[in-house]
C-alpha cells in the first residue's frame, strides 16, 4: 500500500496543495456567511433562499461555462484532500510511520468517496 501511495504522491500533493490554497480562499467567505452570519441573523436568510441559492449554484458564464458548479465543486472537493493529507501527517506524528500505509490509504479513500459524493451533488443541481 505504501508503494501505491508513493506512486500517487504527485496527484495527492497536487490536490492537497490546491486544498490549502484554493480551498482556504473559497471556504473563508462560505463559512462566514453560510455558517455564521445567516444562522446568527446578521444577514437576512432570504439572501440564500432556495430560489437564489439554486440560481447562484447553477449560474453560468457566457451561457456555457458552469461557473457556479465549478466553484462549488472546488469548495467541496479540495478541502477533503487538505484534510486527508494533514490528518495523515498528524497521525504519523503521534503514532509513528508503521501503520502509515493503511492509515493513509483509508484517509484518501474517505477523500475519494467524499469527492464522488460532492461531484454527484453538484452535478445533480
Amino acid at each position: 500500500m505504501k508503494t501505491i501511495l508513493l506512486r500517487l504522491e504527485p496527484i495527492i500533493w497536487l490536490l492537497f496543495g490546491q486544498g490549502i490554497l484554493i480551498g482556504t480562499m473559497l471556504l473563508t467567505g462560505w463559512i462566514l456567511v453560510v455558517g455564521i452570519l445567516i444562522p446568527m441573523g446578521m444577514v437576512d436568510a432570504e439572501a440564500l433562499s432556495y430560489a437564489r441559492a439554486h440560481s447562484l449554484a447553477t449560474a453560468s458564464l457566457f451561457g456555457f461555462v458552469p461557473l457556479g458548479k465549478l466553484i462549488l465543486a472546488a469548495l467541496l472537493v479540495l478541502p477533503l484532500w487538505k484534510g486527508a493529507h494533514h490528518v495523515r501527517s498528524l497521525l504519523i506524528d503521534f503514532g509513528g510511520g508503521e501503520r502509515d500505509g493503511i492509515v493513509g490509504t483509508l484517509l484518501y479513500l474517505i477523500a475519494i468517496v467524499g469527492s464522488v459524493m460532492a461531484i454527484m451533488a453538484v452535478v445533480g443541481l
Binding site: 455558517g35 494533514h86 498528524l90 460532492a118 445533480g124
Partner: protein, 146 residues
C-alpha cells in the same frame, strides 16, 4: 611517500543499516510553541474534513428541493453548528496566515529564465487575492451583489 588516501578504505564490506533514530515527536511537544503550531496546522485537517462534509450535505439538500434546503439552513442555527463554524473560521484564517508565510519560501530560485518576484510581493499578492475572493464571495452569498 604514501599514496593518496582511499575514501572507502575503512568502510565495512557490506553497507549496514543507518544508525540514525527514526524521526518521532518529542515527548515534550506540548511545551514547545514551534511544535504545537506545527501540530495545530496539521490538526486543521480534521476541521477541513468536517466542514467539507457539512457543505456536501447542504448542497445535496439544495438538490433535493426547497423543503430539504429550508430544513438544512434551519439546522445551521443550532448553537453547536454556529460554534463549529466559528472554530472553522479560526482554523481557515490560521491556515491562510501560516501557509501564505511559507509560500514565498517554497518558491524555486528561478522559474525558467525568470526569477520569482520578491517574497514580500508574493506575500502581499496572496493576501490581496484571499481578501478579494472572500469579500466578493461574502457579498454574493449575503445578497449584496447579484
Amino acid at each position: 611517500m604514501a599514496g593518496p588516501a582511499h575514501p572507502h578504505a575503512m568502510a565495512p564490506p557490506t553497507p549496514g543499516r543507518t544508525r540514525a533514530a527514526p524521526p518521532q515527536t518529542p515527548s515534550t511537544w506540548w511545551g514547545s510553541k514551534r511544535i504545537m503550531t506545527y501540530l495545530l496546522f496539521d490538526a486543521t485537517g480534521i476541521v477541513y474534513f468536517l466542514v467539507a462534509f457539512v457543505a456536501i450535505r447542504l448542497i445535496r439538500d439544495l438538490g433535493d428541493g426547497p423543503l430539504a434546503w429550508a430544513r438544512a439552513m434551519e439546522s445551521l442555527q443550532h448553537p453547536i453548528y454556529i460554534a463549529f463554524h466559528v472554530l472553522c473560521l479560526i482554523a481557515v484564517i490560521f491556515v491562510a496566515v501560516r501557509f501564505f508565510r511559507l509560500f514565498p519560501k517554497a518558491q524555486p530560485p528561478t522559474i525558467g529564465p525568470a526569477k520569482p518576484p520578491p517574497a514580500a510581493v508574493i506575500h502581499a499578492m496572496l493576501y490581496v487575492i484571499w481578501i478579494g475572493i472572500t469579500a466578493v464571495m461574502t457579498a454574493i452569498l449575503a445578497g449584496v451583489i447579484f
